[in-house]
Symmetry: C2
Subunit: 338 residues, 2 copies
């Protein structure tokens, strides 16, 4: 395996010139550059990563701490991991994957040994020991999600309150005067991430602002309970003509079946918006308008912020990514009669 000395010899220059030619950190004479390029090609030279890390100030590796617990929703989790890796590669960074069992020890190890230049934290929970650790490590880091105590941290997340508000606005703007939110099972609001709470609060707050009636129900995952919840809310609030669903994929389909089962058609009788899913709602029956949670949006920004910190500390912050609305035809004006 050729090294920089081989390239320098073949090109008839010094190793520093080879180094500068490859890094572009100083101007190189036209013909010198050509001879070096030629030598690099001839020897199939690729700089040694360890030499680079040791001499330089960067390892060009980020640690990604992603639990990969089996109780996380795998498709979304996978999409986020993929988005982080893709975003990191755009900055020429590789990603070292640290999982649940080694969350804290692993982060400590790879940052103390200077194996990584920074840390990206995924699947952040309210009480996340990784948040405290990152704070104490003082290493470049960005969290995707917001822990209970975000002081001193750089966090990026979808603006869930704005997303819920956007859903309300769409319904109200279409003429609906009574809206309902079908949410996750109650356990989700009690522990784990705080975004369901933020979505719910954003929903209720905006509905109040807009002066429309609003109700909120938590829905368990079993089909009978889902049907029950749909009936309950439509029976208890007959005026409801706009529905926002913040739940898992399977729950959506069951809700849609239940709605159809009551003889209601979407959007003629009921307008429906899916809130912040990571899955596709355009192939549902009927396709649903959606305010998606887009992994790339948060991940790209988180990686950018981590990269910025390589130059030095930046202001701690919670950066909220603006929600986007995608129309699939499931929202319309309510029937004149109500």
């Amino acid at each position: 395996m050729a090294n920089i000395h081989d390239v320098a010899r073949v090109a008839g220059v010094s190793i520093s010139t080879v180094s500068y030619a490859l890094s572009g950190k100083r101007p190189i004479g036209e013909k010198t550059r050509l001879r070096i390029d030629e030598a690099v090609r001839e020897l199939d030279y690729m700089p040694n990563a360890a030499g680079r890390m040791l001499a330089g100030t960067r390892t060009r590796i980020f640690a990604l701490t992603a639990p990969l617990r089996s109780d996380t929703y795998a498709p979304a989790h996978m999409a986020f991991v993929l988005a982080v890796v893709t975003a990191a590669r755009a900055f020429d960074y590789d990603v070292l994957l640290l999982t649940e069992d080694e969350a804290v020890d692993g982060l400590r190890r790879v940052s103390s040994s200077r194996l990584v230049d920074g840390i990206i934290v995924l699947d952040v929970s309210v009480e996340d020991e990784r948040a405290d650790l990152v704070r104490s490590l003082g290493v470049p880091a960005a969290l995707i999600g917001v822990p209970g105590d975000a002081a001193g941290l750089v966090c990026v997340d979808l603006d869930f309150e704005a997303a819920a508000a956007l859903a309300v606005d769409r319904l109200v703007d279409a003429g609906h005067a009574s809206v309902a939110l079908l949410g996750h099972p109650s356990a989700v609001y009690e522990r784990g991430s705080n975004f369901p709470v933020r979505f719910r609060d954003g929903f209720l707050a905006r509905a109040a602002e807009r002066g429309v009636a609003a109700s909120f129900s938590m829905v368990e995952k079993d089909a009978p309970e889902i049907r029950q919840a749909v009936s309950a809310i439509l029976d208890a609030h007959p005026a409801v003509t706009g529905l926002v669903v913040h739940a898992e994929e399977g729950v959506h389909t069951t809700i849609l079946e239940a709605v159809a089962g009551r003889g209601l058609s979407i959007p003629a009788d009921l307008s429906v918006i899916a809130g912040v899913p990571t899955f596709d709602t355009s192939s549902f029956t009927p396709p649903l308008d959606v305010i998606p949670l887009i992994p790339a949006d948060s991940c790209v920004r988180a990686v950018e912020l981590a990269v910025q910190q390589l130059e030095g500390p930046i202001e701690p912050r919670v950066e909220l990514v603006a929600p986007k609305y995608r129309d699939h035809g499931s929202v319309a004006a309510p029937r004149p009669g109500g």
Copy 2:
């Protein structure tokens, strides 16, 4: 951040003694070791990864190439990634994650730059460009799964033929004389991985060996088609009393509903075994006997084989992991009447 010279100075020894004390590669005097341990603790010393990589012969990093495509079954994929990372950590190896878009270029980059000591390949397809690449790279590598051309490669996979044969044996041993396999959609058998084919062939071959009637149907994913397939096979082969299912999670539940819908009870009327799922079948209604695909089994072995290759090339091979049977009560003797 303390380095090895700091530790040596505080402990009053040379840096080589510190290095040997930490690596355990040569015996160190009792009190010398104590002084070094003390200094390490006092300075919170952790060896610099880049220095280690450059001076040593190992980076202690494996590349894991896992596509993370959105069309792969995420829960299983995540379980495999997790199992690889966990297995690698047991050998004190970290894992660098390379995804789809960079499969070939990324592997070339990290191996040419000596960033990694070896490669673990996940989600291997029949025509997998990564297989050819790994062959040409000549770097320690282990594939989890078997490509069309496995020549020169080290592969590990579940023994799918043996798994299917085990299912047949269980049914035949219980007294069943006519068995059926409900498999994946036809597209799965035509492209992608080859394990569905291996499972099917193992099923048919063992049934022939045991002298029992066997049929095989491919089942699409939509509920109506699933119900249709169940009816078709039970109508066409009324003697069938033993069923093996090799399909996705949702398909299983729909099949069970369809079976119940026909008034058949499991296992009294029909014995059912789930073939090589990565999901839990013990919470199905009823719980199903299962021959699971256990990510850890293949992943641990693949990592072991990669580690072995650090000492030098080993014999190329396709190592098949023996299947295991888990009884949940869904297999019984057929009714005396047939």
